[in-house]
């Protein structure tokens, strides 16, 4: 090894101080978690009570006959469609119904709930604002 390489190696010798000290490093007695949330409550007798509502449960519909897979063939052309906006949803779903009702003369501006209008998000399981679901 040349002189310059040896000098440079001397400058970078030593333990790794920069990377985080995770549970994968250190001696066997070093016990550290990785930030998992507690799924219950610790009672005064030091017994852990699991709360079933806190345990995540995956709800997956039946995927038999589902054609989409993780990767896409190279033959498919690149590109994607722009995301659907609220205006597009309104134009496709709600506007035709309102137009029909206006033509029939049954349009009632006080009863917009039948077109899907939600005056308040209280009481809903999946509220749109503030958004309380992941997707």
């Amino acid at each position: 090894m040349g002189l310059l390489t040896q000098l440079v190696r001397g400058l970078v010798r030593g333990a790794d101080r920069v990377s985080p000290f995770t549970s994968k490093r250190g001696p066997r007695s070093h016990n550290k978690g990785r930030g998992a949330k507690k799924l219950g409550v610790l009672t005064r007798n030091k017994k852990f009570l699991l709360v079933k509502e806190m345990v995540p449960e995956f709800v997956v519909p039946d995927l038999t006959g589902f054609k989409l897979r993780p990767y896409v063939s190279y033959r498919a052309a690149e590109g994607s469609e722009p995301p659907v906006t609220a205006k597009q949803l309104f134009d496709e779903l709600v506007a035709p119904r309102i137009e029909k009702d206006v033509k029939d003369g049954t349009f009632d501006p006080n009863n917009l709930e039948k077109y899907g209008f939600e005056p308040t998000q209280e009481g809903k399981l999946f509220q749109l604002f503030p958004k309380n679901y992941v997707r």
Partner: protein, 241 residues
């Protein structure tokens, strides 16, 4: 592992005195000829900026000097680090291939690389050599313009880095059909399995099929309706700041 080590592992980092050859840096030949720790005499190349590079694979160029001076050919390979351009069939020397103890081997012509100064780009309509410059069109697109006639030289479509040609991709392959001529093989052509969809690939028709039905329900609400899940409990009101 150090973050810098992880980032550099994704991209191949070459040592400062690396001598480039005609082969890609991650091939066996390159690793044989450039073992780690090797230091060779430096090869001096005329510095050309990366965005000033004018010759690409698939271009027609004219050779100005050497054995095949005055001939035009297609560029098959470009090595920017050494200002090299390999033109198909020109500037060739002959070498033996598949020479064994019993068989003397066959002579094949192999092209030697040409420097940028020995090469000249060719006007597409004239088919005469011209000087070329990078300029911007009215729309703002960067194009190569021939200085003599002002015509635009379109950059030929560059092959993908992973070597896959989407036109040659077979897609679904049921295993039938011949494996083709073994003698004339170049990479993926010899093995049809290398260019078919795997078990985790969506086929082209399924990927491009439009099955979205717009609705005012969220994704979760639609799944709950489809599976018949009824949830009457509501989360307790909580506050965060």
């Amino acid at each position: 592992m150090r973050l810098s080590a992880l980032l550099s592992a994704a991209r191949l980092r070459l040592p400062p005195g690396y001598r480039h050859g005609m082969w890609p840096p991650d091939s066996m030949a390159a690793r044989l000829r450039n073992p780690p720790g090797q230091r060779r005499r430096k090869v001096f190349v005329e510095p050309v900026a990366k965005d000033d590079w004018k010759v690409f694979k698939g271009d027609t160029v004219q050779v100005l000097a050497g054995k095949d001076a005055g001939k035009q050919g297609l560029v098959t390979q470009v090595v920017q680090a050494r200002n090299w351009v390999v033109v198909e069939g020109l500037n060739t020397h002959y070498r033996y291939v598949s020479r064994t103890a019993k068989y003397s081997g066959t002579y094949i012509a192999s092209e030697a690389p040409l420097l940028l100064s020995q090469i000249c780009l060719v006007d597409p309509e004239d088919r005469k050599p011209t000087e070329v410059e990078w300029r911007y069109t009215e729309e703002g697109e960067r194009v190569r313009v021939s200085l003599r006639s002002g015509r635009i030289l379109p950059v030929p479509p560059q092959p993908r880095q992973d070597g896959i040609v989407p036109e040659q991709w077979i897609g679904e392959w049921d295993g039938s059909g011949g494996w083709g001529d073994v003698a004339g093989d170049t990479g993926a052509e010899c093995c049809p399995l290398a260019r078919t969809d795997g078990p985790k690939d969506t086929s082209e028709e399924d990927a491009l099929a439009k099955t979205y039905r717009p609705s005012l329900k969220t994704f979760e609400e639609e799944i709950m309706d489809a599976m018949g899940i009824v949830e009457t409990r509501r989360a307790k009101k909580s506050y965060w700041y």
